[in-house]
Symmetry: C2
Subunit: 216 residues, 2 copies
């Protein structure tokens, strides 16, 4: 597996010990996430939009309404896609060393507008399956008109900055003598009990691929 490119914008000026060029770590962070934050420049100012995404091999797909200005701005300029997992609050003895445990991927590149119908379908499938795996095979497939209403962008996963912080607080030597609790408060994203649509026809059970995700 090819290592991630090292460029001026992916090299970290500080705390390089938190970064990795390992592509499999990037894939894990992306595959564990549900939404990304897409950064584009619109009329000279940055805009950061939360949206769904999906990964197929070394390509990331994002989609939006064909009329969305944030996607129109995309293909002619570089964009940035960031996926972040907040894994814990790091509680230290000094306020200065309070921190968070996290995994983040910051991907840079010039996106490609997907106009091949097969790739567009594959990209939309990847996006759908990343949010709700199993749905592509049971829900009604998009019509030609629905496909036309959606824009899909492809971003190569070549230039990315992957950062991870794990573990407990790192306090200054003198502070370990303080009478202050220190440790980590873990943070997770969990799933509640499925809420059926009030208009659901009787006798349709919650599919296994959805019940299996509920946090027990």
């Amino acid at each position: 597996m090819k290592a991630l490119s090292s460029t001026a914008r992916t090299r970290l000026g500080r705390l390089p010990g938190r970064s990795t060029g390992d592509r499999s770590v990037l894939y894990d962070i992306l595959d564990d996430g549900m939404i990304c934050h897409l950064g584009v420049i619109v009329d000279g100012t940055p805009r950061v939009i939360p949206t769904g995404y999906g990964r197929l091999d070394d390509t990331l797909y994002v989609h939006g309404s064909s009329g969305a200005s944030s996607l129109r701005a995309g293909p002619s300029d570089d964009i940035c896609v960031t996926v972040t997992h907040l894994d814990g609050l790091v509680v230290a003895r000094s306020l200065f060393h309070h921190s968070v445990n996290y995994r983040s991927a910051v991907i840079y590149g010039r996106p490609r507008l997907v106009d091949d119908e097969d790739e567009k379908t594959a990209g939309l499938r990847a996006i759908t399956e990343n949010l709700t795996p199993g749905q592509w095979d049971i829900a009604r497939l998009p019509t030609r008109k629905e496909m036309a209403a959606v824009t899909v962008l492809a971003l190569s996963l070549d230039e990315a900055s992957v950062k991870i912080r794990r573990g407990g607080p790192k306090d200054d030597d003198d502070d370990y003598a303080l009478d202050v609790w220190a440790g980590v408060l873990p943070v997770q994203q969990t799933f509640g009990a499925p809420v059926p649509d009030p208009a659901l026809r009787p006798g349709i059970p919650v599919p296994g691929h959805i019940t299996r995700r509920v946090t027990s």
Copy 2:
């Protein structure tokens, strides 16, 4: 309470029913969150960085290392700060109508570098308390040197786009006859059991302001 400004970049081109100009809704979304995604332009390309933040009245504070290039780029240019809560996966009968329930705030503006020491301390306190409320009063306060190592930016909460989607799927009329489950899978951010620092001195209990947050 003054309504949020309506500008070209906060007016929504699509689905305006999901937006609100109600400032108290913006405050709730910010106060419920723990990290934001900060969008800046660095060398002509967008960069989206996850970071902590805090709110005091109608000002948002973010901080970083005094050497961080993403913060150096800030005060001379507009930035964008986005806070997103993923509240549920909306499972529809058609793939086209799959969606997510969410609350998001997208804030635009030119940040102000905070150089007044009292405001800088208040901003850092707001950031700390937004992540781990209660810690400012028990942990060791920052030294003068630690304060100098941190840059704090202030962003006015005047120009913001607030969007909310709630409720079940909205399917096309014909699709309600399909034999496909539809509904919402709720998503929450929850806290696990606190993990004490292995170097914790014996006899220091987990403080109540931390145990109270643990999801039962």
